[in-house]
Symmetry: D2
């Protein structure tokens, strides 16, 4: 996946289903289709109406649930989670769903996003005697609910949610119901579907296609859904909402076959490529994209420009957990790992290399060099998003200002650093137009914080960046 190449990560995908005899199995296929959102760990909690059962573990869903593990969790409903790969911390404790058992029943939580006031809340709760067993900000919600004092879980959750700031898409399950909540800015994607009579919730609509479910609608900012054997009920935990879906979901996180707010991701990417060509045309022999996430934009650029799209870069599909890193000596001799340039295609050609973003610039420099080593006479880099200048506090592992090359360098400087003949980024207007959604808005709108620095929520002094977590 792209993330592995660029060091740009996103946290997690969630999936829930209520009212299906093979709930765990369906959740498994759903998580499988969301696997690109996280490969560190996976888990499913089910309910049979009387008790919660859980299987989780480190690794891919197909590994975690292998060896008949799925058969250990039967029931009519399930929530599941895939977790993204942290730099080395993490560990089993943080694999979700988190499951809390007590004398009056269990509570399972699956979360996609990042709370900007998690630290504050945690300190407060600890000073009142709470014990945290994970370093996940998700656990904060469980403690807030337990301490809310409300008789009714729904009210406890509503109350707790009003204390949270930041980005979150929560799935919560007890023995008898499933609750779904999306933050007031709707920063993370979350959709509702129907599989026969069963309600399905997923981070991306690609999960619906895979399990054969019908897409109904996206969950709305500030909405709390209560799903149980009686059906589905929509409530609000706040009316103070402003939709700002993360634009990076379109640019590269989401699977190209997903739709968010009615916009197909692949089509959006092709449009970004097309507008990129309008904004920054260049004379060249071939267009190529950095696999996998930039292929759509590259095809868009190619179609718009009339320059043929070619397979100038290829990714090795078999680079997994056990892949052995080459020694320094071999690296210097030119051993490639995940990505290599295709000499037969590139040699003697002027190449437009389309990529979706530049974070530190090191990967871009490496790819440009690869293309030149393979014989490209010119390499023109086109980035299908604006320069990324600001860290993200909402779940995407975008580093601090210091590490973001566009935060400290002009485009010309970056061009020189990565060794390209020319370099152009998409404009913010081009992004808005290509995706086809305005910048924030009551019902539809994008978060552009990493490009513009305008954060849709309050940011706290002790806010923890996703990549700083243990």
């Amino acid at each position: 996946m792209f993330a592995e190449i660029k060091g740009l990560n996103e946290e997690c995908g969630v999936f829930g289903i209520w009212g299906h005899p093979e709930a765990a199995q369906v959740a498994y296929y759903g998580l499988h289709s969301l696997q690109h959102r996280g490969q560190e760990g996976a888990g499913i909690v089910t309910t049979d109406g009387e008790k919660l059962s859980c299987v989780k573990g480190l690794g891919l869903a197909s590994e975690v649930f292998a060896n008949g593990k799925l058969n250990e969790i039967t029931g009519k409903a399930a929530i599941g989670h895939v977790r993204y790969a942290t730099a080395g911390g993490g560990g089993y404790e943080n694999v979700q769903p988190l499951l809390f058992r007590s004398n009056n029943g269990g509570l399972a939580l699956a979360h996609n996003g990042n709370l900007v006031n998690a630290n504050q809340l945690k300190q407060q709760l600890e000073s009142q005697g709470s014990i945290f067993q994970t370093t996940s900000d998700t656990e904060v919600l469980a403690h807030l609910i337990r301490r809310s004092g409300y008789q009714d879980l729904k009210d406890g959750i509503k109350n707790a949610l009003t204390m949270l700031k930041g980005a979150y898409a929560f799935l919560i399950m007890t023995e008898t119901e499933m609750l779904v909540a999306l933050d007031p800015n709707g920063l993370r994607p979350l959709s509702i579907g129907l599989l026969g009579d069963a309600y399905v919730i997923a981070s991306e609509t690609c999960a619906f296609d895979v399990i054969g479910a019908k897409y109904e609608r996206d969950v709305e900012p500030g909405e709390l859904l209560i799903i149980n054997d009686e059906g589905i009920r929509s409530e609000r935990f706040t009316m103070n909402t402003n939709r700002a879906i993360c634009s990076m979901e379109y640019i590269y996180f989401s699977r190209p076959d997903s739709n968010i707010d009615g916009v197909n991701v692949h089509s959006a990417r092709k449009r970004l490529g097309k507008i990129m060509h309008e904004e920054a045309p260049i004379e060249a022999d071939i267009v190529t994209g950095v696999p996998d996430s930039s292929i759509s934009a590259a095809i868009g650029y190619a179609e718009a420009s009339g320059i043929p799209y070619e397979l100038g870069l290829i990714k090795n599909r078999y680079v997994g957990r056990t892949f052995i890193q080459p020694s320094q000596a071999l690296r210097e001799q030119g051993v490639k790992m995940k990505l290599s340039a295709v000499r037969g295609v590139v040699e003697g050609k002027r190449v437009v290399m389309v990529d979706d973003s530049i974070v530190r610039g090191t990967t871009s420099r490496r790819i440009v060099k690869m293309l030149r080593d393979a014989g490209a006479t010119e390499v023109h880099v086109r980035i299908s998003s604006p320069p990324m200048k600001n860290p993200c506090f909402y779940g995407i592992d975008i580093s601090t200002h210091e590490e973001l090359i566009a935060s400290n360098h002009s485009i010309e400087e970056i061009r020189e650093i990565i060794g390209a003949d020319s370099l152009e980024f998409l404009s913010v207007e081009g992004l808005l137009k290509g995706v086809g959604l305005p910048h924030e808005g009551e019902n539809r709108g994008q978060c552009l914080a990493c490009f513009t620095g305008q954060y849709p929520t309050e940011i706290y002094a002790d806010t923890v960046l996703p990549h700083e977590k243990a």
Copy 2:
């Protein structure tokens, strides 16, 4: 990979290197880039000039050589092999290289291809008291060499090779030299490269790009290379040669970034798509390819037709060994596994679906149905190769006549079976023109046997099809 989807398999990839201090490591990266040619098993044998060392096992190269196994095989030269996934037989014994030790030294063999007279030779050898420990036809060569009586290994090998019929690309290694042989028809690809001073041999040139080696030339039909510390020497074990490289290597086996006989595979596929459009144009809204092997042809078709290329089908990258198959009930409800159609792209559209071949027709039917279920109003199937009517005896796991749908049905019948609105295959002339090589020839030429039934070698009554092996 394509093979997993279509049940069309090829046997194995080979890699060899002589004269590099980290020979095993380089071989590992080479095999890694050839992993698409076989995922069942992998092995490397090295020599340090005095003894042969071996690590092999079932699974992907990255699994087999994990946990420091690579460090167990040091030396200046190595041969390696990746083996394709059989239906269930196979097992550890057949993982290559095969290593035979005796009092006067060891002999390691790695083989890509299929011998058509293996059964005859095996019976003969057994009747003379030889014991076979594998069901691999590769072992036949070892026995023939040992029984040849020649003092000089090279002469023994030459003599033995003249008894073999069929397709083979052999790497043979002793403590002190590496020998390379290609069958008189050059049915399987095999190329020579240079990595600094080290000689490199690989089934596909993509391995050279990955390790940073320079491509030199393809091994010629009937050629025997002897490589040792003195250098490389080319001899002939027969002058009766006729080049007939397997055309399916271009159509779908090889990695798109490889070149065979100077022809880049991706470019050849784009040309096949382009010619397909010339031969069978159609009015439609989008062109889509069946991933991964048909993407290039689909882009070629799209560029030639002016119809936009879209991502109408998507493949899940995380389907590995441990993937859990859905229950029949879930399957009927529409749970997809490896491939799914993208509703957001396909809905309400007339789709040209480009695929590279049709074997039994079941996969095509399934994909056409997927597209329709996702809302395609018309599905026009374009196959970038001619109808496959004859089994392959040279290493590709193409079934018997009975199982090949094109062997028993007209194109119109096939169209009806797969449920397409229209169906067209590429012509044989189109294939020759698209690849850019003639049908057989002294130095350059393609084997078209599976399309035309003209086999470049004798076929025996007891010839074993690759998929019939234990």
Copy 3:
């Protein structure tokens, strides 16, 4: 181990060390020697003075810490735990030491014993908003400490301990100190040793022999030890103590090479065998013991009686986790698993079979039958402990009244059920005399509750038996 054969289990062993450069390694060998006390899971937490590090997992210590895991936990001090095998529940969460992190530091707990008021305390804590993540009663202590409100950890612990009822030997570690506590009845064994300058704590003294440490003394009931870089300090959290060490530790739990309260376990067992002979002599040809725990008593019986000790029963050492259970058909044909009778020794002989206890009687019946099938003409069973009539609430997995055969049957009835020619149990007086300790006492004394029904602590209505835990 015995437990596997008889379904009689004990919970856990603990080990701690402060002031050693290879603390984790030493803890590993210590736990290894305590492995007979629990095979379900193992864990070690270390401190380097600034942070706590943890490795734990399911399985034997040698499995959990394999693959270089020990190197991940460096530091000058460590506490460790081995956990006993529950019927199937348990799971990773309950593996100890439990580690709780908070903003003002971490807290690791390792516990051997069973709290009789854990349920009460847990309900109370949950009603105040605490969230429990394990089903271990150990976690109760952590919550009590965090909620105690004391500035000083030591005071918080003292306060929390006064709320606990039951049996416990606790090791508690923060970044800067290790605390050790034993319940007011000293129901579980716990000893102090010295390894050079390092303080060592272990459930059994055999751990000292293995690591080369010098035994100092046993921890006293009601004692709280505080160990840090300044040294060791002994305090009391209660003066209301009454020593009642579990007599089953002598009878079968502890390793024969351990000493408890100055009494060597093997020697005590030999004395029990000797007294058994005095109380219930019999004319016979050989004496044999049920391995492993009854061998010492059998030798004692043999020496006292002059009847030769023979190896009439043998245990297969290689029965591990992956052992495959025989089918019912094979079982009926007589396939033995862990234990078999030695025909060459037993045939035609009158056998005294010495065992240490009878729980349900099923194992005894099976062994008597084995001996008869192997040709024993008479089988006289001698049990080196009194009839077990009452459940244990202090950590030993002795079932409810219904399941204890001696609770519902006379000795003559039991004899008939197990099919012995004669059956005798040791008297309570014989037990006291053989072990050499009185029944309870200020400093030295045994708990005889399972034999006499006199429990040294209050028992609550909702007290959970160890084997009822999840």
Copy 4:
């Protein structure tokens, strides 16, 4: 097991069964009971009358056949093998049974022993063109059979066996029969039993007890048994026989519950201990044995002397493959691993330490030191076998002359080296009398070669010692 402690190993155990519906399962339990004879690898080959099926692998039987592997090999008959742990060589290829497939059927071989002319035969066969794929001498027999030219397998085997020199107990199986052969000296144990109507063959009779089979008789030197659906037939491949069962089988290899030539191993060991006392009495406080193999002899010594038997040394049962070796520093601080002395028993005592043999002397020295460190005031070592002065060529991994301490030192010198207060070995006469069998003989007799240097077979210049194999 003892072998792990002393570096004295034996090769392998074999098990066969014909005529049982769950042949593989029974073989598994049989191999399990023979596991002490080899822990490196295990395998089973079955026949259902038409084809041979095989499962084998590295590790313990319970590991190799875990995960349902046993269900892959169904049939009415089976042969199995457990292989002993070599120093590091070995590997999968050498795990037995070896299975050779050919066009006219399969041949499976399982072997216990060592051929003294394997090298000669192998060179001869290789010069005739045979290819060896293992370094096992077992493979020689397969080649000899295949090359024998006999129509009838039985005749081919008889012919082949006459060419073999050394020690061997062979199980051979085809689709339709099982053949059993023992070398003319009967150096290795092999017995016949009956399980209902099924014939059972095993290296030791303990396997019969475990599966509930009835012992019939021992296989005779020079005997060839042919077992098939018609029944069992006994033939001879030579009349020139002289029974010389390895006396080390009694002294320590075999399980104490096995009988060999009608002699129970435990009883023999007790007699050796008793005679040891007669030959070398000593005044002392306790007798202790080195676990596990010397316990019986120690009890014999104790009973004869009237000195109480005590548990002065204890072995940790949980030392398995994954056990982590202590660092040098910890070792010097006194960390014990497998064996430790029991201070509570030994302190202040004069100890008779009974062991079964001394090879290099290093282990003895270590144990004597342990006892002294634990407070023993005197340590008197009594060895229940004569000094071992000569290497074994028949399958026991007894080192060359140089490594055998008794080959180069007087008893007084050895005493000094191991640091004992006194040291005595059993006399050869004592050994003969204790076991109760003469030195060699037509039907009953022992091999004493390692004590006396009189080898019952010819020894060749190029004979390979078991521990020199790859």
